[in-house]
Symmetry: C2
Subunit: 337 residues, 2 copies
């Protein structure tokens, strides 16, 4: 008998298959491989093929928009939103529209076309996290923006259009509905219990242990109780903190270690799957300190979302999180840095 489970934060139900639970080898898909065919605008020497750099990390005193960088942030050449102009809101009968103001940036994580976030040394993964933090702090000063989402699409099946490893950032003039639901869910719990629901989840999961994948001094990694996708993972800071951009050195250091470790485990257990990750952090200008708790969600791309999911918002997950946690826990790999 399958089981329905409710996400305690969002109130979203998922269907968890329990009878014919899918193992890692049951998911048929193309392995993500670096093909290095053709021209790459993210490779050193091609800096003029991207929009001018917004920031870069360079250790050798090299020039802006020239080789010598270890990480580079540029505007997306085909942005989903435009950075120029003012926010104008307009009604039209029943309908509401707004100018598509926002920022859409690309974080080129390494000059090396052959690397992935899983194979980069962890101090270089840490650089990526610092760059995200710096960009959020900068964009936060622009009062037009209400939210910044950090995300990564790895592999074509997960929506990556260029294979050179990169993350992305979008600054938005409205708080997106999924974040709003999460923030509201967390606030409701706080109003009722005067506790953070994420802290409560960490406490309960630590007690039972069955969905814990890993932990270090600063972070815990869980298969959530009601995951939408098989092998979904949440990386949650152990200390209550609403906003990612307030993370400190020791936290980003540990996050880099655990993120790299989790991506290596995914590669090992699922043979280099495409994946997405996103950072859910507090809306920019709201005081959510008491009840919201930032975290990083990793979603390997193993299943197809079809009519049932679009029609209901209900997801069918063929692998119980207790099982995916076990596979991922046992796949502990030695970091190469």
């Amino acid at each position: 008998m399958p089981e329905l489970r409710k996400d305690p934060i969002m109130g979203r139900w998922v269907i968890i298959a329990t009878d014919r639970a899918k193992r890692p080898t049951d998911f048929v898909r193309e392995k993500v491989q670096i093909r290095s065919t053709g021209f790459c605008p993210f490779c050193p020497g091609n800096e003029s093929k991207t929009p001018p750099e917004i920031m870069a990390y360079r250790s050798d005193g090299s020039l802006r928009n020239c080789p010598g960088w270890t990480l580079r942030v540029v505007a997306n050449k085909f942005p989903a939103l435009g950075i120029e102009g003012s926010l104008s809101r307009q009604g039209e009968g029943l309908y509401d529209r707004m100018t598509g103001i926002g920022a859409h940036e690309v974080i080129i994580e390494t000059p090396d076309h052959q690397m992935t976030l899983a194979t980069l040394p962890s101090h270089r993964v840490e650089e990526v996290l610092w760059a995200c933090r710096e960009r959020i702090l900068d964009l936060k000063q622009d009062r037009r923006f209400k939210y910044v989402l950090i995300f990564k699409n790895h592999g074509e099946a997960a929506g990556a259009s260029l294979e050179h490893t990169h993350s992305q950032l979008i600054a938005l003039p409205v708080v997106p509905v999924r974040v709003r639901e999460e923030v509201n869910g967390a606030r409701e719990h706080y109003n009722f219990k005067e506790r953070c629901i994420f802290c409560d989840i960490i406490r309960q999961e630590t007690e039972t242990g069955i969905r814990v994948i890993a932990e270090n001094t600063e972070f815990i990694v869980l298969s959530p109780f009601a995951p939408r996708f098989p092998f979904e993972m949440w990386i949650i800071p152990k200390n209550h903190q609403a906003a990612f951009e307030r993370a400190e050195k020791r936290e980003l250091e540990q996050l880099a270690v655990v993120l790299k470790d989790m991506l290596m485990r995914l590669d090992k257990v699922l043979d280099h799957p495409a994946y997405n990750f996103i950072i859910h952090t507090s809306p920019l200008s709201e005081s959510t300190d008491d009840y919201y708790h930032w975290h990083l969600e990793i979603m390997p791309k193993l299943t197809k979302v079809a009519g049932f999911e679009w029609g209901t918002g209900f997801y069918i997950n063929p692998t119980p999180p207790e099982e995916s946690a076990k596979y991922l826990r046992e796949a502990a790999v030695t970091a190469n840095a």
Copy 2:
């Protein structure tokens, strides 16, 4: 400059690209083709390879679970939910779970492996709609169920695992979150205006005409104002009605004609794309008569949903609905029945 638009029912924002709007030929994807390779459990003569039939339309007095049918409804062999047992709810600290009670059925739309819902004569499409209606009316008697979703996955990219044309139905013990949001949005509008928001949308769209694709005596087809997906279409009954299963003969007749017509236009404009459709109807045991309005949503599978969409619930749509409506309007094709 891209534009942000808000869906007036759900309150969901979408990003509509306006500068580099994608035309039908800009979407690269595999054409859905019937390959007819290998064994098909939905073909006549193989009735024993599916679970026993729940109902069938037969004109020739042939026997149950034998050839001679024109339409056949069977339980899904790999159901997402189980039909047997009672609904048991259980808490576990923060978490809630429920036995996965539900019905998951397959409507085999024709014995002919070569046909699609677009190429079937419209009186045969009407049979499919009658079967859906009959099944909902039957499942409604089971008090364990709160909602029945009718949906179709056409083509592998849209999640179809068998190519023999079929629709599906899932009866659920909870009202799914997407339906709940739509019902709540419609109720809020009603509380404020004492009008149905869908009726208001029909009125406003009929006046401007720019997003109207087609209409007949009973239905109007629109590109919605804030569609998540390029070339998304909504088929809405012109007369206010909350529940699909209360549709009458003249309505199902006209719905079959317009649904077939729209699927033919999709095939013509987008060269046989994969697609999903879903019927959104009222929850089974709620009185939504005043404010809810059933409809059918068609979503061609042209874009990839990636990190940004998963993280935000915000969709990026590269084709403005005014343009997709124009393409689809001009693609009027002659029905073959």
